[in-house]
């Protein structure tokens, strides 16, 4: 039973698979929904959690089941030079993890 509960918890907490990408458009786009539609159409994948940094810089998560599918979607965005000046992985940054006080590097 505990195993079943743990498995259930893992299922519930597993985030939707995907690849976060950042695109820079050739032209200014004022409506994020329009960019989402265009990215989804070109990548051939559904999209979630879209947002704008500027009127030419947008980020969203391509929903894709595996790495190969995600990479293929991003490649199609990169190749669409007439629409996107740049398309790349939206890299993750973290808090800069503090060292443990017990580490020699923290002496």
């Amino acid at each position: 039973m505990m195993t079943a509960v743990a498995a259930c918890a893992q299922t519930l907490q597993a985030p939707a698979p995907g690849l976060r990408v950042q695109v820079q458009t050739q032209a200014e786009w004022t409506n994020v929904a329009d960019v989402v539609a265009r990215v989804s159409q070109i990548a051939g994948l559904p999209v979630r959690d879209a947002g704008a940094s500027t009127t030419q810089l947008f980020a969203m998560t391509l929903i894709c089941p595996d790495e190969a599918t995600c990479s293929a979607g991003l490649r199609r965005l990169v190749e669409a030079r007439d629409v996107f000046a740049q398309a790349r992985v939206d890299e993750r940054r973290t808090i800069i993890r503090p060292p443990l006080p017990s580490a020699s590097a923290a002496r």
């Binding site: 597993a14 950042q22 979630r48 940094s53 810089l57 993750r92 940054r93 503090p98 443990l100 580490a103």
Partner: protein, 668 residues
């Protein structure tokens, strides 16, 4: 019948009485006032050979007319002279001389202290008594053993930080922390990915940190947490915000570097970090640029602190960050970023063009083992170092945090047993210093700030004097402690005092307002005290004027408003902003505002009184000049006892938490 024997301590009592009498007499003997003579009188007197002779003549003439034994003191200028007397105190002498027809005014020549040490108790003693580091050691002037401390005290005598906004791009903040509550603008939450936002939604106007804990189940599930490790909430944004802007001179907790600076919390990191796109959007929004779908920022920042990053990978690319930083710089603001904690090359975005990258140094001045390094580093600042690998951390940084391991629990502080370590905490010291520089000279450009920070930095000690090898250009192997060079650790040690001095206008009065937050409660009186104000040599305060700028429904003034102190009484819970205007002898007016959170009313119970708020972490200050309400000392004593017990409990919990974390967290 018992005989009465003289008490053995009587001679000591007698000596004590004699000593006190002597001290009293000395105080009377030292009556000392500054006298300004009327111009016409001075003109006559100035017919003498020199101003000194003229001043002496004034003192002699005054002696003859008043019958007081006056002696002349230092001549400040042709109108001003110090006059000394015996047999009365300074206030009496000033009052007596002010009546003379040739005297424009006479004021007490008060003693001022060159230091600007705040009254916050953890500033003086916030570490364990068994560590060599005392309180906020990293903010004091450097010594022969602590070479890297930044001398914020010296900077506080030159600038207030007022009017400057520092954006803290981090995990959000805990708005209820008593040392931050009045120092925070609302900010914004830029985390758009609902998988990591941990607050149930995407971008929103709530920059509060909901916690960033990651469970082992989430790590096992892969997806967004595949590369993460299970860990408790960090409260990282609350820690960095505290170092920059924790309220100073409020009688509780700690002091931030930036004085009166205001913090704009921008939440860009959630569980296991955040995305470049959100960070860049927040950077642009911070300086007032438009970001689609988000209301315009009404509090544009001059300084952006980014204690975040990631180590270099094959795909690392500074193009987008450099472009964003360029836009920030064009808006007149600077980007301060942590170099990294892996002992390798400077992380992204700190290494990107335009960023002020900050490396970490040990108390003794060498690069702390974990700090990243390289030619991109602009400057170095203390990052915390433990000296030993077991027991209390010897040179921990101390800042605001929360005790919750997942969601927030209670406001507290890091210290020797729960240390803040890392370049994440070096960058805020530079950010706070830059804020002071901007307040001293608002017209500074981003390039000027960087240039002044570098040119005012203190030189690293010679390699030979450190006893360790010189730092080398970064490779794929982490470098442990090494002797800093200008090509690996930047221009030198951050020197906040010298940095501010390089841009500040000299000769300004810096008003300092001290109070004790724990006394600011509904129904009680509390005192604001300006006696710590910093006066340049030869300058005197002529008038004091206190007034409430906002929040007059929350507190009212219940004393005269033209003295060096003022008493307020809390009316309702909320914030009251009080302004002090000092007019000096040259008729220059300098103002400073202070925000005070008035806590809930005291509630009576069984003959004792306890406040329902205002803080959960109040400690005794020993510096409070407040009070006034009968029973307040009683109340404070009880509060102190409660707080000490609560603190002890929290520390025990934190130790347990840290022990758990130490078992699970890998060194990154």
């Amino acid at each position: 019948m018992k005989s009465i024997r003289p008490l053995p301590c009587l001679p000591f009592v007698a000596l004590l009485v004699m000593a006190l009498s002597t001290a009293s007499a000395s105080a009377a003997d030292a009556a000392r006032v500054i006298v300004k003579f009327k111009a016409s009188t001075n003109a006559q007197a100035m017919s003498a050979a020199s101003s000194t002779q003229a001043a002496t003549r004034h003192a002699q003439a005054l002696s003859q007319r008043t019958g007081l034994a006056l002696t002349d003191g230092r001549v400040i200028n042709s109108h001003l002279q110090v006059v000394r007397a015996t047999g009365l105190n300074s206030a009496q002498l000033a009052a007596r001389l002010a009546k003379e027809s040739d005297v424009e005014y006479a004021v007490v020549d008060e003693r001022r202290h060159a230091t600007a040490a705040p009254n916050d108790p953890r500033y003086a003693a916030g570490q364990s008594a068994s560590t060599p580091a005392v309180g906020q050691w990293y903010l004091r002037a450097p010594t022969s053993t602590v070479l890297s401390s930044i001398n914020a005290e010296g900077a506080w005598t030159q600038a207030t930080g007022a009017g400057v906004v520092v954006a803290v791009l981090d995990t959000g903040v805990r708005f209820e922390h008593p040392d931050l509550a009045v120092k925070l603008y609302p900010g914004y939450d830029f985390v758009i990915d609902t998988a990591i936002s941990n607050d149930g939604d995407a971008r929103d106007s709530n920059a509060a940190d909901p916690g960033d804990w990651v469970t082992s189940a989430e790590v096992s599930a892969g997806g967004d947490f595949a590369d993460c490790s299970a860990e408790d909430s960090s409260w990282h944004g609350t820690q960095t915000a505290g170092l920059i802007g924790a309220a100073a001179n409020n009688g509780i907790g700690m002091a931030g570097v930036g004085g009166d600076v205001m913090i704009l919390p921008l939440r860009v990191l959630g569980k296991c970090g955040g995305y470049d796109s959100d960070i860049m959007a927040a950077m642009l929004w911070a300086v007032g640029q438009t970001v689609s779908g988000i209301p315009t920022n009404t509090h544009p920042a001059k300084v952006l602190n980014l204690s975040l990053g990631s180590a270099l990978t094959s795909s690392s690319d500074c193009t987008a960050y450099a472009d964003t930083i360029s836009k920030v710089n064009l808006a007149g603001a600077i980007v301060v970023a942590s170099a990294g904690n892996d002992g390798l090359a400077v992380n992204l975005p700190a290494r990107c063009s335009g960023a002020i990258a900050v490396a970490g140094v040990r108390h003794a001045g060498t690069k702390v083992g974990y700090s990243s390094l390289g030619p991109q580093v602009s400057i170095s600042a203390p990052a915390g170092n433990c000296v030993v690998t077991t027991g209390l951390c010897q040179y921990a940084l101390l800042t605001t945090t929360d005790s919750g391991t997942t969601v927030a629990a209670s406001s507290t502080y890091t210290d020797a047993s729960n240390p803040s370590l890392g370049t994440s905490f070096s960058a805020p010291m530079v950010a706070g210093t830059a804020a002071l520089m901007f307040s001293a000279k608002p017209s500074l450009t981003a390039a000027e700030v960087l240039s002044k920070l570098k040119s005012s930095a203190r030189a690293f000690p010679s390699v030979a004097s450190t006893g360790v090898a010189s730092c080398q250009a970064p490779t794929s192997t982490a470098q442990d402690e090494c002797a800093c060079t200008t090509t690996t650790c930047g221009a030198g040690f951050l020197d906040a005092s010298a940095a501010v001095a390089s841009v500040a206008t000299t000769g300004q009065i810096i008003p300092v307002i001290s109070f004790d937050t724990s006394t600011a409660i509904v129904g009680a009186s509390f005192t604001l005290d300006s006696s710590r104000s910093v006066l340049p040599t030869g300058r005197t305060v002529q008038t004091y004027a206190w007034n409430i700028v906002s929040g007059s429904t929350n507190a009212t003034v219940t004393s005269a408003t033209d003295a060096s102190t003022v008493i307020l009484t809390g009316s309702t819970q909320g914030t009251v902003v009080v302004r002090l205007s000092l007019t000096d002898d040259l008729n220059n007016v300098t103002t400073r505002d202070v925000s005070i959170g008035v806590g809930g009313p005291a509630s009576s119970s069984g003959g004792t009184t306890t406040p329902t708020t205002p803080t959960t972490t109040t400690l005794p200050t020993g510096n409070s000049s407040g009070g006034g309400a009968l029973g307040l000392h009683w109340l404070l004593g009880l509060t102190m006892a409660i707080v000490v017990l609560a603190e002890r409990n929290r520390r025990l919990q934190l130790k347990k938490t840290w022990a758990r974390a130490a078992r699970r967290l890998p060194l990154k």
